[in-house]
Amino acid sequence: MNILVYINTASNLAKSALETVTYASKIGGSVSVVATGNADDATLATLGEYGAQKVMVDRSASADDAQQVTRLVAKATEAVNADVVIFSHDLIAKAVAPRLSVRLKAGYISGAVAVPDMSNGFSCKVNVFSGKAFAQVAVNSAKKIISLLPNSIQPEKAGAACAVEAFDGAVGAAAIKVVDTKKPEGEIPLPEAELVVSAGRGMKGPENWGIVEDLAKALGAATACSRPVADIGWRPHHEHVGQTGVAIRPNLYIAAGISGAIQHLAGVNGSKVIVVINTDAEAPFFKAADYGVVGDVFDVLPKLTAAVKKFHAAQ
């Protein structure tokens, strides 16, 4: 089976890129990567360690224009005669993968959480009903497209560096003109974070977020917040996790002063371990938690931060 993985890079490779290449190599067969972005050849070559046989890069294509990326990936699909095309289920894939599905008449499984089951046809597990259920979705067409939900599998090193070649994707003109891009520097993007510390209205005001950030820093975690906190402007909107915000599935989600409304849970119920800290022992979030602490966040958070620091010092 020929498998093609699309990735977009900054100067470094995102963890999601390593996940998708690892995922492709688990399907089995020949794995090629088609890349956009700024990473240099030496960096791209390291994808070989995760199972890629070669990387084709087109640095003239912009990931900002879904039509350009679609043309690029379609051309690469033809070049390597790919049977399966893999994306990370990120904001680029949400624009490009559906287009590619129509262009190639290839069935598209969006937001896969497991390696395909090929014992009887070709099907894959996805989350549905906002994480309250899952479905097994089969693809009936010869060509198949999968977008992999971030943090569904761990990157695994298997081989050595691979060849990197320039690829002309014949991407044509861009229809989308970028006026301005704002990226907060130095923060871990929420969907990629393995550890997340999140807080809600229980913090009583934006000036109290220092103790949340202290814990996040001690853990090496990203920070997040509930919807009301983003709506009243205590925290930036990109930190809002939940049904209408970002859906995340970190290894550890610590929720401080968040009651756990059903819309919030829809964004975090894929987390592997949930810790809830709340003064109200009846908060609905405790029902979804693995570990619970009934207590005042202003008392508990600094104590937890101190315990984490003590633990790291002893390691």
């Binding site: 904001l91 559906p98 937001g111 899952f134 693809v139 989308i176 003109k177 704002k182 005042d296």
Partner: protein
């Protein structure tokens, strides 16, 4: 300005999720269907605001059976001018998108809006598929949308940030939170919706690209382990040795 807004039905957010027919079908027993919130709150309401400012016509389209006319009347009550129902079960995103594209091809819309995803299938697929079928630009997960002349200016989420982009009409946009505020239909709107035109069109044949084979519910969570707030060392120890996440 001709605007087409795609709406889908989804179970009310408080619905009990269960399956029937050997886990092959969603159990609709006792389920109240609503207009998918992203389609209603963001795509439809922003479409109406643009129509009210710029003039023109707003059509809603859904792929569904006669029972789905309740959600169509709701969208008309909020303010859409007319409605189209493609008479078929929405089998998957590709089927749905091809039906909408088929209708749009014959009716030259300036702007086609969808919600960012449905809350039942969460695929985020239909908008992009319509755009490709019509060979139009597509901006996904836009949080702001303004139109000047034939140029649309949007704010959208990107990986790790936000971006302001422009594109020429005609255009397909999927709408996320920030685009507009929910509108509650008033009595006049509800009365008017009863007589607004609703056109039922037959479905076109489309290849069956995907099949939902089976559904399931996640394993029940084991009971929460309560930790003494004065013993955070124990929590850290459990996260390290038991949960193995730090």
């Amino acid at each position: 300005m001709k605007i087409l807004v795609c709406i889908s039905k989804s179970p009310d957010t408080t619905s009990k999720i269960a399956f029937t027919d050997g886990n092959k079908q969603f159990d609709e027993n006792g389920v109240q269907y609503i207009v998918n919130p992203y389609d209603e709150w963001y795509a439809l309401v922003r479409g109406l605001e643009l129509k009210e400012t710029l003039g023109g016509n707003l059509t809603i389209i859904t792929v569904g059976n006669a029972a789905d006319e309740a959600i169509i009347r709701k969208a008309l009550a909020i303010g859409a001018d007319d409605a189209v129902r493609v008479d078929a079960d929405a089998k998957d995103a590709y089927f749905t998108a091809m039906q909408v594209a088929e209708y749009a091809k014959a009716n030259a819309f300036d702007l086609i809006l969808t919600g960012k995803e449905t809350i039942n299938y969460n695929g985020s697929q239909v908008g992009g598929m319509i755009a490709e079928a019509l060979d139009l630009p597509f901006v996904s997960l836009a949080t702001k949308l303004d139109i000047t002349g034939t140029t649309a200016r949007m704010e959208r989420e990107i990986v790790g940030g936000v971006q302001i982009v422009e594109a020429n009409l005609p255009l397909v946009v999927s709408c996320a939170k920030g685009m507009a505020e929910q509108r509650i239909p008033n009595m006049r709107g509800i009365m008017a919706a009863r007589t607004k035109p609703l056109q039922v069109v037959p479905a076109t044949a489309v290849e069956d690209l995907t099949t939902y084979v089976e559904y399931g519910l996640p394993a029940a969570k084991s009971a929460v382990k309560m930790i003494d707030p004065n013993n955070m060392d124990e929590l850290v120890e459990l996260l390290h040795n038991e949960a193995k996440v730090i």
